[in-house]
């Protein structure tokens, strides 16, 4: 894949908070219909990275390039208007609101009744139902509150909403971290579905086992710095796990634990 076909590219991004180096010299790219996984333990700089891509923070150094053109996102709205949708872990949906109201919150379809604009509930419900069906979820009751859905289904609502409203790049912030094994698998399938629709997905996670099956590219961050970047096939699952866990430290830990077991 050549550099030109990248949908969104971050080049040498750095961010400082006072004397704290939150992010140093990070380059990441995602192409159309690709999944780029950004991995890192707590404090690795993943959140700062997302916030730069989604317009919450501006990078102190480096540049963002979208579809070959250098861009600046002074606000989250600017990023959204450019087609970058961010799904934050717990802040994506309003639990007490119904599924269709959540789906269209902020972008409600309207129809005119004389001079009065009102929400076109019928078509909103139909569109929501169809979009969710594409994700493999059959919503029988559009008025059901989102809070009664499972964590995975709530992510699905947020993801399908982003795709429906024309997101070119979908940034998912730890979508699987609060979920069980089965639910995580379902969310990974939604990610694959988004990718198959041509969306560029940036999948932030601390779990290499979740990243490995869907990722086309893996970027590992550690303490604000780039630990390494690999294309799919360029790294094995075990190597990725090891990278994540801090390599040699994990080896030491394993040996320590084995020794203490032998002593018993």
């Amino acid at each position: 894949m050549s550099v030109n076909s990248a949908l969104l590219e971050g080049r040498n991004l750095s961010k400082y908070f006072g004397s704290v180096i939150a992010l140093k010299d990070i380059s990441v790219t995602v192409g159309e219909g690709q999944v780029t996984c950004v991995l890192g333990d707590n404090g690795a700089g993943k959140s700062t990275f997302i916030k730069i891509l989604s317009g919450v923070h501006q990078p102190d150094e480096g540049e963002l390039v979208m579809e070959g053109e250098e861009v600046r996102f002074p606000s989250p709205r600017a990023a959204r208007d450019r087609g970058i949708a961010t799904v934050f872990q717990d802040l994506a949906t309003v639990p007490l609101m119904s599924i269709w109201r959540n789906f269209f919150l902020g972008s409600e379809p309207t129809r005119k009744l004389g001079p009065i604009k009102m929400v076109d509930v019928k078509s909103a419900q139909r569109i929501m139902h169809d979009e969710m069906a594409k994700m493999g979820i059959d919503v029988r009751d559009p008025e059901q509150p989102v809070g009664t859905l499972s964590g995975g289904e709530r992510q699905a609502v947020a993801i399908s909403r982003a795709i429906y409203f024309g997101a070119k790049v979908l940034i998912l912030d730890e979508p699987t971290s609060a979920l069980g094994v089965k639910q995580s698998g379902i969310v990974l399938r939604y990610i694959a579905q988004a990718r198959d629709k041509g969306v560029g997905v940036i999948f932030i996670t601390h779990n290499p086992h979740h990243a490995y099956p869907v990722g086309d590219r893996f970027v590992v961050l550690n303490r604000g710095k780039l630990l390494g970047a690999w294309e799919r096939g360029g790294i094995s699952r075990d190597e990725l796990v090891k990278m994540m866990a801090g390599g040699e430290e994990l080896d030491e830990l394993t040996q320590d634990l084995e020794r203490s077991l032998e002593r018993k």
Partner: protein, 353 residues
């Protein structure tokens, strides 16, 4: 195409989820309505007083309790919208007093036409609401504290200014002002042989309007979103600050409207009018299913809550009991409503297994 694809899919984890979604009965749908509890309670209160007193069930009696219900209900509906939007307004009660006094002073002291005085009063209320809302949005302080301050400021101004200008704690002589009669007909009069108050018509109209706004307009969707999770709402592009400020303005204007109605009806305004009413409005909204934490509730519910309170106040009077018992009644229904709402919230928000 895609529908077919899902239909022929073999059993997968998602189709297990589908089975669970399918079990939505009519009962579930009714139970999901926030105003259900209030409607049942209203029925119980109505039956009780109709059975124990002679006047309550008559049309004359109904004219009485709908009158009380309407002057509580108009601000209560606005307070309900504000509460769904996640905020409180403790200055809504005292605003009724401020509005009556302001309108009265403009009309009697400055010889203004009553209609102009009414328009300026509503404008003033909108400005107070705007300040309340802007303070809450900008400072991120709890609206409880901000509007508590507004409450005391307005109460002080009501008494201070009225005493300063009139030498008493009331403004009177409104009936001699030009435009009084036509304004009285619109805001203070009554109709039919049973003397139903015109305020009842306003109350019903405002409830219908608020319900429509909540259910069928973009702003309505935003109100739910802002109250349910304002960060999530902002993330998807809802203008959170504008929605909140608008709600504070609506509430202040609803309070002022009732103040205008009461002052026109009595042809005078008391400086102490409305103090304490703010809690009655909040109780009506909570009894109607509004959650104290925002994001859930209904305008019809608040109207029914006001109806319950109106029926109880008049019912207590008809029963020959001391009318001060109404406070005990308010406390009890508030407590019951909060307990019921808690259950509702839990089932709506966390029914996951």
């Amino acid at each position: 195409m895609s529908d077919q694809a899902t239909a022929v899919e073999p059993p997968t984890p998602t189709s297990v989820v589908d089975d669970r979604l399918a079990q939505v009965s009519f009962l579930t749908k009714v139970m999901r309505r926030p105003e259900l509890g209030a409607a049942l309670a209203a029925l119980v209160v109505a039956i009780f007083f109709a059975a124990t007193t002679d006047e309550f069930g008559t049309l004359d009696g109904a004219a009485n309790w709908t009158d009380v219900a309407s002057t509580i209900g108009i601000p209560a509906v606005a307070v309900a919208l504000l509460m769904i939007g996640g905020e409180f307004d403790l200055s809504a009660g005292v605003m009724t007093g401020t509005a009556g006094l302001l309108m009265g002073l403009l009309a009697t002291e400055l010889d203004m036409n009553m209609w102009i005085a009414i328009a300026l009063t509503l404008l003033f209320a909108a400005a107070v609401g705007f300040i309340n809302g802007t303070m809450v949005v900008r400072t991120k302080l709890p609206s409880f504290i901000v509007t508590l301050a507004t409450f005391f400021i307005l109460q002080g101004v009501n008494l201070g200014v009225t005493k300063e200008i009139t030498g008493t704690v009331r403004v009177s002589g409104l009936s001699e002002v030009s435009g009084y009669n036509s304004a009285f007909d619109v805001f203070g009069g009554s109709f039919s042989t049973y003397d139903f108050r015109i305020t009842v018509v306003w109350w019903i109209a405002i409830t219908v309007l608020a319900t429509w706004v909540l259910a069928r307009t973009r702003v309505g969707n935003w109100i739910f979103g802002v109250g349910g999770d304002q960060v999530a709402a902002r993330n998807v592009g809802v203008p959170v600050s504008r929605v909140k400020i608008g709600l504070f303005m609506t509430t202040a204007m609803a309070g002022a409207l009732v103040g205008i109605m009461v002052a026109l009806r009595l042809a005078s305004a008391q400086a102490s009018q409305g103090v304490g009413q703010e809690f009655t409005y909040i109780i009506a909204a909570v009894v109607g299913g509004c959650l104290l934490t925002g994001g859930y509730g209904s305008a019809i519910g608040a109207a029914i809550g006001a109806l319950i309170i109106g029926m109880a106040f008049i019912g207590i009077q008809f029963s020959g009991w001391d009318t001060d018992w109404r406070f005990l009644f308010l406390g009890v229904i508030l407590l019951l409503a909060v307990l019921v709402n808690n259950l509702v919230r839990r089932s709506a928000e966390g029914a996951r297994r």
